[in-house]
Every structure is written in structure tokens, then in C-alpha cells.
């Protein structure tokens, strides 16, 4: 904005929102958050309301895996409890800094996020990793449920082997039941470490 033309007093705003009420997206709501004060073997969100269109889980976590810098996460869905049957499939694409790779599995008892690549950190690597998980049309009773995720961790080459990586995963829960329960567990470690955070959000249609 210029002061040319004799205008001596002009309000200068750093952004387009300045001077106006902040727009709040009411379609995206926080449902529940768990931040661990002690190491925990699994995280379960239950009694999830069916009032949203989609769900998103935002994870910032580390496991107690001691041998490699990264770890994966197991995901199970269910109605009132997590389905442990062979009703899942997943595929992923990942990069570890040396090569890109893809793989997939069917007839599984869980969806694995980061099956070939660390998507969260571990005690060995010393860092936390992040995952953004979307569960689409989770309450629809006419469809199987699909999941997608973006996750990764980078320990700056502190650990060897199964460490620094970036991953995208697609998952399928072959059930037309509404999703009322979500369970997350470490893939290799036995616990999520202290300070790990798991936040569940609902997105309205």
C-alpha cells in the first residue's frame, strides 16, 4: 500500500484478517486428546459420536523400541470395541532417504501405518514422529471404511537401519458398521513413551 496521493494516515495490516473478526471453521472440532504422562501400551478412542462426516487423528509420538530409530503404528477400528478379526488391508509407499518402496497386505488383523518405515520415533532414535490419519465416511453403514495417513520421522541419521523415513499409507476396514472405536498400538515397541500425544478431531459435512 502506498502513501502517494496525499494520504497521510493509512492503517497497515499484516494480513487480510486484520480489522475483522477472525473466521473460525466450525466444521473442524476437537473431540478428544490424550497426552501421555506415563508410558502406555495402547490408545483407544471409544464412544465416538456419529455426527461427523470424517475423522482425523493427529499423532506426535515415540515408542520404547530400543533397536531402531523409528517405529510403526497398528490401527484397529470397531463399533464398541476394536475389531481383531482378519478384516483389514493396507498398502503403503515410503522413502528412507535411499530408495522409495511400496508394499501391501490383505486379510490382516490391523492396518499398519509405516510397515516398512518409521512413522513415529523411538527411544533409540531419540525423536518423536508425526502422523496425520484421516478416516473417511467413518459412520456410513453402507460402505467399508477407508483410511489414509501421512507420517514420518527424522532422527538426523542418529540410528542405523529402520529409522528416518516418510510414509503414506492407505487402509481398509472391511465392515459396514459405523466406527465408534479407534485403537492405536506400537508396531514393535511395547509402549508409547511419555509425552506422546494423540488428538482426535471430527470434520462435519
Amino acid at each position: 500500500m502506498s502513501n502517494a496521493g496525499g494520504m497521510s494516515t493509512i492503517a497497515r495490516y499484516a494480513d487480510m484478517l486484520a480489522g475483522n473478526a477472525v473466521f473460525v471453521d466450525t466444521a473442524y472440532e476437537s473431540i478428544a486428546t490424550t497426552t501421555l504422562s506415563t508410558a502406555t501400551a495402547s490408545i483407544t478412542f471409544s464412544s465416538i459420536s456419529a455426527t461427523y462426516q470424517h475423522l482425523q487423528i493427529r499423532v506426535f509420538a515415540q515408542t520404547n523400541r530400543a533397536t531402531f530409530g523409528g517405529d510403526g503404528v497398528q490401527l484397529q477400528l470397531g463399533t464398541t470395541s476394536a475389531d481383531t478379526g482378519s478384516n483389514y488391508a493396507y498398502h503403503d509407499l515410503s522413502g528412507n532417504g535411499a530408495s522409495a518402496a511400496g508394499q501391501g497386505q490383505t486379510t490382516q488383523t490391523k492396518i499398519i501405518l509405516g510397515a516398512n518405515a518409521g512413522v513415529i520415533g523411538s527411544t533409540a532414535g531419540g525423536v518423536f514422529g508425526g502422523i496425520v490419519i484421516d478416516i473417511l465416511d467413518y459412520a456410513n453403514t453402507n460402505k467399508y471404511k477407508t483410511v489414509r495417513s501421512l507420517g514420518g520421522m527424522d532422527d538426523n541419521a542418529v540410528s542405523a537401519g529402520f529409522g528416518t523415513a516418510i510414509d503414506v499409507t492407505s487402509g481398509l476396514w472391511m465392515s459396514a458398521s459405523a466406527t465408534g472405536t479407534i485403537k492405536l498400538m506400537p508396531l514393535n515397541g511395547s509402549n508409547f513413551n511419555q509425552y506422546s500425544s494423540f488428538a482426535l478431531y471430527g470434520i462435519r459435512g
Partner: protein, 159 residues
Amino acid sequence: MPSTYEPIATNTLGSATASITFSSIPNTYTDLILVVNAKAQSADIYPQYKLNTSSTLSRVYFSGDGASASSGKSADNYIVGTQQVYASGFLFNAICHFMNYSNTTAFKAVLVRNNNASRGTEALVSVWRSTAAINAIEYYASGNFDVGSTFTLYGIKAA
């Protein structure tokens, strides 16, 4: 339930510039999301970022260009990714997730998806090896972002 996907600041360029800084970011959110749609003014450019004026980030990525997929990593590198912002049009977009950005007990992880509609796509994670809360993000390049490029920072607050 509390609504919680709030725009913190938006910058739509009225003149070409090489650097956009979001400063004095409050620590009242859980995650930050930066959404970019950009065009370079003249030469193609690689976007880069700094957190709290520090550029010591390591990264790992995978990318695809329509013919093959590849992966790479580097330590202490501040280039956001391998996808360039082209001068030929608004072909570049990015979504950057700054996870638990105000956590003071852990290093910061940033998840990024970069797309150049005429070149390729990639996913990337980088770590900023600091336990300091992120209070400033500078998104910049060696050349100018062109007029009309947009940079919006959102905050997500967990219950």
C-alpha cells in the same frame, strides 16, 4: 465440542517478495498448518524455511515425477523439498504440518506435502532439533515469489 481450525494469518502477495515471515505465533494451539499456493516471479525457485530464524533442519523425502519414484535425505538442510516453484504459472502448492509446535520437551517434526502440477509430487518430513517452541516461521527462496502467491497459517487446538 470446541471448534478449532483457525486462520492465524494470511499473506497474499501484492508485490513480489523473496521471504514471508509469520512471527509472534501464539503457543495456544497444538499444531500449525501452512498452506502455500505460489508462482515464481522469474526463475524457478526452491522454497525453504526457517523456524525461529534457525535453518538447521534435517529431512527425508520421497517423490515421484510420473516416470519413477525416488527418496533422499540430508542433514542440516533447509530446503523444503525437491519440487520447485515455477515461474510459468501457479503450479506449486504445499501443505506443511508443524506437529506439537509449542512442545518444549521434544524436537519438532514437520510433515510436508509438496506438489508441482507440471513436474511431480512428494512427501517429506523434517526435524528441527530444538525443544524451543516455534514462534516464527520464515518461508523464503533465493528468488521472488510472484504477485498473487498465497501463504496461510492455520492453528489447530486440541481439546
